[in-house]
Symmetry: C2
Subunit: 518 residues, 2 copies
Amino acid sequence: MRREIFMSRELPKDILKKYETTFSTVELPSVEVNRVAPKVTTVTNKMEKVLPTIKEAVEKTGLKDGMTISFHHHLREGDFVFNQVMAVIKEMGIKDLTLAPSSLTNVMNEMVIECIKAGIVSHITSSGMRGSLGEFISRGGMENPVILRSHGNRPRAIESGEIKIDVAFLGVPTTDNYGNANAVYGKSVFGSLGYAKVDAQYADKVVLITDNLVPYPNTPISIPQTQVDYIVEVDAIGNPDKIGAGATRFTKDPKELKIAETVKDVIVNSPYFKEGFSFQTGTGGAALAVTRYLKEEMKAKDIKASFALGGITKPTVELLEEGLVAKVLDVQDFDKGAAEGMAQFENQQEIDASFYAGPHNKGAVVNQLDVVILSALEIDTQFNVNVMTGSDGVLRGAIGGHQDAATAKLTIISAPLVRGRIPTVVKDVTTLITPGSSIDVLVTEIGIAINPLRQDLVDIFKNIKRIPVFTIEELQQRAEKIVGVPEPLQFTNRVVACIEYRDGSLLDVVKEIKPYKE
Amino acid sequence: MRREIFMSRELPKDILKKYETTFSTVELPSVEVNRVAPKVTTVTNKMEKVLPTIKEAVEKTGLKDGMTISFHHHLREGDFVFNQVMAVIKEMGIKDLTLAPSSLTNVMNEMVIECIKAGIVSHITSSGMRGSLGEFISRGGMENPVILRSHGNRPRAIESGEIKIDVAFLGVPTTDNYGNANAVYGKSVFGSLGYAKVDAQYADKVVLITDNLVPYPNTPISIPQTQVDYIVEVDAIGNPDKIGAGATRFTKDPKELKIAETVKDVIVNSPYFKEGFSFQTGTGGAALAVTRYLKEEMKAKDIKASFALGGITKPTVELLEEGLVAKVLDVQDFDKGAAEGMAQFENQQEIDASFYAGPHNKGAVVNQLDVVILSALEIDTQFNVNVMTGSDGVLRGAIGGHQDAATAKLTIISAPLVRGRIPTVVKDVTTLITPGSSIDVLVTEIGIAINPLRQDLVDIFKNIKRIPVFTIEELQQRAEKIVGVPEPLQFTNRVVACIEYRDGSLLDVVKEIKPYKE
């Protein structure tokens, strides 16, 4: 259904030419794929990998114009690595780089904008972007469209060579002088190195940036010495207190609490809430509330989960501690509590991004996921979800694991009907991020809407009186009644970002915001 | 020096043609290498990977004539997997396979011989072979020469595509139904999956054979679900009590004890015995005695090691328990005690074979190794070591990690001057396995010989009166005096095995034993 809308958007031919396929289905077929492998400069002796400065490391890697560099975003708004490295690269005058981080956070924005303006960065692929960088890109600040990929699509693109990382700069809270690194010990502990592990495996050159050199051999080994070329010690790689900035606050907003309770009710009444179920709740105030409510239900009904997945927060680790969840699988940790749990609990297991959600390996964890709760900036009457552009059409989000985890058996979108004067439930999403065919239930503060593709769920919930069920069109109309019909957004024909589906097909594009007429 | 001897052996041209390079140096230069990657058939849903029979698994992998299959030898003489799988393949009538296990143990011999005779196996690469298979090959039982590679050379060959594994059959003591496997839990626990991890990463198809299916998700994850195609449950994958058969017995042989004590004396008086040193002692009665003596010295002098490496035995794990060693790095475990330690001790770290000794990654652990004790069937006056062929010229050994670990700063060969009527110290080794330029000291029951390349060690030990120092020629003459000069071995011109050095260059060949004239 969505496909026709998509095709009618008159996508520029030069963009379409770059893609073999446009999006067709969320039910990915099994295919045979060829992988690529890095070019390795062998280390055959006890060579000193520790270099005194980032500059020396950049020089030794042979980084030059036109290459691709990568970073991880595990330290999120507390990251100090990106700006330190980019400042050096900028000073060295290297041009025309492709920036391929696992994602970009606000703390990196000004540096990225400067580097684009100076011609240092000419291409970007990321999970998302926000704030000033989103504005800059949306208003046409960069010549080449940004490519936005999910956390599962990125490792796929790396494994297939679509992203060929020449040099990866990876911040690690602890490493020895030969490159055995983990993120579970040290002053800047952030838990899982899930995104970074893929870069270390596939980049030609790998530079670790650390603020904590420890004696050889460092264990546990998240990134092994066999993948590391150089190491630089700096004063600080980040401020781990800022990883979760805001994300771990427990909401007191009655609307959020109402939504969280309904999400819990949907889960508990679904066929998936049974011994051994699995879930991903994600981050944000409402998600934490869901985890808390779910915990009470699990205790009351004596149901234990087999695993919790995703970006992990402390409340999920507490479920592990209480024996309500058998295993926690961390591709990322959203707060210090979760990060510290990684060193403490044997059953909190680090996984890499391909293992988490890669669609082109022999089976990612998302394939095993029963229940996921995801957010939305917009959801339309086809259940299509936008988590990328705001109501003003500006880039202010990230795909993250949204497309990937939405393949769960029960995918719940938790979102308010409206936010201030902005409707969440709309006729058409501004930007298509996760196709409606993988969304099962929308939960709002006034009730739920079930995707008609899930007649089994429709049948179950029509008998549960305390959960008001609407059609998605009814919810859209309710939203419209509250805030009216917004003026349609004005875009130019220029594409500023390509949205890929997790299999690498072209799903949508983001166009440049039309400048205001003065 | 050795090179000339080697080149004078009139190597058959057809063998030389297969090799780009012949051995030149143990000091491997840093080179730029391209890796290969597997062809992956993607699993995009919760597909059932567990199949009812090995036969069905073999069929699903698409195994056909001419392909390469692999196994690991972690279960050593207790392995039940190899014979179960090969019996099925044999019955299915698949021909002309290349057998590429990490090594072959005696328990596999009869099956391999049958498969060679039936044309099912036409090529073999292994770390070694013993018993009836060694006899069979040495007497010309197979048309194509066997290729013998060290534990570090094998991953190099796999990473470079010289060994392209089509299907790996890997026994695991525990896995879930999606393929997350480890060897630290279950009834057939054998500890590290170090050799198998490389196969799982590079084989096109990976079949796990287990006797212990556990709930999803299984952790810790040694082999991840992302690398596994199929799983078969069998009654038993092995008898873990037979892993170490004999290897963990503490010797009472006074000659062995004398050698062990001198080895300890050499280590303790070397410049490497200091806080933070590292070592690999290996297996066998004398090695265990060395570990015990070393422990006493470490306690007495308050010296702690940074790590112990290699095939690990329980006495080494005891050093970890007592705080005398900070970390133990296990590529393999030689007894149940060491295997069980893997689940128990955080600082006992599983490493893969490439990490252990791969010469073409960004730095293996052997590069960091201070002291290693290795054995020898023969050692010659150039300090060249043979651990492959017996005094009768028959294959009866394995390279193992010998070439790899010999690159340590202090490489000690511990061996008796003679064994029965057979000299150990000889003028020329029958088969060259580890070049003399990487051997530092030979320890025998009557004293030691120091490689003249190590003048620093010569200078140190000339002042230590309680350790008798001989030249290697003197030791050879002493051995000759005891047992006389053996009749030279009679070989045909046919090559039955190629010996590679760890970098993949051709080091030596083993020729067919000349049949007895009746």
